[in-house]
């Protein structure tokens, strides 16, 4: 996955890899610096995505390994700090915020970006998934308050809501919506909320479409499973929901 023998990888503290260059080679060095730093940024971003997925995969049948979660969370914090220092963090979050154009995607992202804020969530419209039978079936098995709320409300911790609420909303109609796919391909800023990650780890129960999460990681941090596998996991979700609701 990563080129072998690359010494640089994550070895510096965030300064530009090339700090000095000969006058005569200024142009090529600068270009090399940009390439080197962009490859460093790419690898750093990739490490960040990988870490976030690892954190989400913690929620399985058995209680997550707290030591591992803390170490990964600390790594994410480190990356976050470094990216904040060189300004790339703000750029990234702004880009993600700007990507929310269609109203239907707004719903999903809005819910994700918030903490346990039932009032705010209640204000969201359930429109995007109204035409979808499967989703309606899923939604209707949840608590009757509102589709967004109900998808999240059964979970104990806020991070759990954000992670599993995400996938609940993500299970829509068969024809893959390119807009939705594009949304899913980004890592949402809510995932960067480490505080809720750690809080949620203690209280979040085990359920969740971890099959979906696993297929996520196998496809790499920036790709997502197709909606066909979403559909198969929908049955899993239904089953889990039945247990929760006690039907």
């Amino acid at each position: 996955m990563f080129p072998k023998g690359t010494k640089r990888k994550f070895s510096d503290s965030g300064e530009e890899p090339v700090s000095s260059s000969d006058q005569g080679q200024a142009a090529s060095s600068a270009a090399a610096a940009r390439t080197l730093s962009s490859s460093y940024s790419l690898q750093r971003q990739s490490l960040l995505d990988m870490s976030l997925i690892k954190l989400q995969l913690c929620h399985m049948l058995v209680e997550p390994n707290l030591c591992r979660s803390v170490l990964i969370a600390n790594t994410v914090r480190q990356i976050q700090e470094e990216m904040t220092q060189d300004g790339t963090w703000q750029i990234m979050t702004q880009a993600l915020a700007a990507a929310q154009c269609p109203a239907d995607r707004l719903v999903a992202t809005e819910v994700l970006c918030r903490q346990t804020d039932a009032a705010a969530q209640a204000g969201q419209s359930p429109k995007p998934f109204s035409g979808d039978v499967e989703t309606e079936v899923t939604m209707s098995t949840l608590s009757p308050v509102s589709p967004q709320l109900s998808s999240a409300s059964y979970l104990a911790g806020p991070f759990g809501e954000q992670v599993f609420g995400t996938f609940e909303i993500k299970h829509p109609a068969p024809p893959p919506d390119p807009a939705l796919e594009e949304l899913f391909s980004d890592v949402d800023p809510s995932y960067y909320d480490l505080d809720t990650v750690l809080t949620g780890m203690q209280s979040a129960p085990k359920m969740g479409p971890y099959d979906l999460l696993e297929s996520l990681s196998s496809h790499g941090p920036t790709a997502l499973s197709s909606s066909s596998s979403c559909r198969s996991d929908l049955n899993e979700l239904d089953h889990i929901m039945e247990i929760i609701v006690g039907s």
């Binding site: 058995v62 209680e63 170490l71 750690l198």
Partner: protein, 448 residues
């Protein structure tokens, strides 16, 4: 008896035995999760992921074969822990045995503590080789006799029977840990022991199961502020008031229970300053200590982090007195090892009987020994290929540079699924137990 000086230069290791299934398809329940000799070395206990404990006993040395120390054969097998379900959190509680610790022997029976993530149990292992015969009211098969047929009385006598080894749970220490128990350690007073989870350490009395005392608590008021967890803890071998615990940030804290009831304030903190040249995003992860062990003398302690073994003098907190690189060639592979989670593997380490040699495991079923006196180290392999009886183990080498010599293995050929996490050294002799995923290898010093 050790070789002269116990130095590694004298010792050649031979294969002695291997226990466990031969086939490559490993059943999850058979994965060995802990290995421990008892205080005399006569008994060797293993725990597995299925919650079972298997105890091997060393056969007495036979006069016919003075070259060979006794073999270890199965002595007792029992199911220590069962899987449980935490209904409140909707989570399973694994039955995997995390640690086994023997109590010093006081009478004919043997006692050990075994623990999974949540519950510690005290087991009594006793032998029965006699049984009473000649009851007046019972037949030999147990049926009751009609009292009218009894005309004479006799005193029942003990007659020999086939040896039966019984394991019975004598104490269950439950409901004291919210987080996963990673360590247990019996105090030198033989009355108390500690159990440590990710955030807390509790002190127990062996006789009392419904009460334990919390002696360390590093849980922050706000869990969002959690950045460090406890990874291992151990009592000092001689001083019953002293214990240490290690953390995921590479620190070791030594605490004195006489100072206060809650030992949150350490008496000493051992930490080596970070090497700025080796700084990376993985620095903290690889500094996390996976095991801490006092030397038998109590003067030193050893810690294991991902890439190295460090020996600390208890009188010097600023840095270790010795550092041994276990597999430095992995430093350039940390990103891949992070991706496949190997970077979180928790390797254990152990001392030999006279504290002159230390041992720890690695990947590809390799394990490493470091002789502190002779400043030598050796890499050996636990594999079925080298398992002819009494065959001497050949040292292995991992090639780090470009040129790979004959018999060397390149880093990229290492099998990271074959990891040796658990090793144990006989307290008196040069006999070692090395656990691969589901097999237990016993190696002995070559005696002439």
């Amino acid at each position: 008896m050790m070789g002269a000086g116990g130095g590694n230069s004298d010792v050649q290791w031979c294969f002695s035995q291997v226990k466990g299934a031969i086939d490559d398809d490993v059943a999850e329940a058979d994965i060995i999760s802990t290995v421990e000799f008892n205080h005399s070395g006569e008994l060797l206990a293993t725990g597995d992921k299925g919650g079972r404990v298997v105890i091997f006993q060393q056969e007495p040395e036979s006069k016919d074969q003075p070259q060979c120390r006794g073999e270890y054969n199965v002595y007792s097998t029992f199911q220590s822990h069962e899987p449980e379900f935490d209904y409140l959190k909707s989570l399973e509680i694994e039955e995997k045995i995390n640690k086994i610790r023997w109590l010093p022997q006081k009478n004919a029976a043997q006692f050990l503590l075994s623990t999974n993530d949540k519950t510690i149990k005290l087991w009594k292992i006793s032998e029965r080789d006699k049984r009473p015969e000649g009851y007046n009211l019972k037949e030999e098969d147990g049926r009751y006799r009609d009292p009218n047929t009894v005309t004479t009385l006799r005193v029942p006598v003990f007659r020999p029977m086939d040896l039966m080894v019984e394991a019975s749970p004598r104490r269950v220490f439950a409901n004291a840990h919210t987080y996963h128990i990673n360590s247990i350690s019996v105090n030198s007073d033989c009355e108390t022991y500690l159990s440590a989870d990710d955030l807390r350490i509790n002190l127990w009395h062996l006789e009392i199961t419904d009460r334990s005392f919390n002696i360390v608590d590093i849980k922050p008021a706000n869990m969002e502020e959690l950045t460090e967890v406890i990874t291992a803890a151990e009592f000092h071998p001689n001083q019953c008031n002293t214990f240490v615990y290690s953390s995921s940030k590479g620190t070791i804290r030594l605490c004195d229970m006489r100072a206060s009831a809650l030992c949150d304030k350490h008496a000493k903190m051992f930490e080596e300053p970070e090497d700025p040249n080796n700084r990376s995003f993985f620095s903290e992860i690889i500094s996390s200590i996976s095991d801490v062990k006092f030397s038998h003398s109590g003067r030193y302690m050893m810690t294991r982090d991902y890439l190295s073994v460090k020996i600390w003098d208890l009188n010097m907190e600023t840095r270790p007195v010795e550092t041994y690189q276990v597999h430095e060639y992995l430093r350039s592979k940390l990103c891949s090892l992070y991706e496949n989670d190997c970077i979180f593997d928790k390797f254990e380490c152990c001392w030999n009987g006279n504290d002159s040699v230390v041992m720890t495991g690695s990947y590809n079923n390799f394990f490493r020994m470091f002789d502190r006196g002779y400043r030598q180290d050796v890499t050996l392999e636990a594999s079925r290929e080298n398992s002819k009886p009494r065959s001497v183990l050949k040292p292995r080498k991992v090639s780090t540079g470009g040129k790979r010599k004959k018999d060397e293995i390149s880093v990229d050929s290492l099998d990271f699924n074959k990891k040796i996490l658990h090793t144990a050294w006989h307290p008196l002799d040069n006999i070692i137990a090395v656990a691969t995923t589901n097999n237990l290898y016993i190696f002995q010093e070559k005696l002439n």
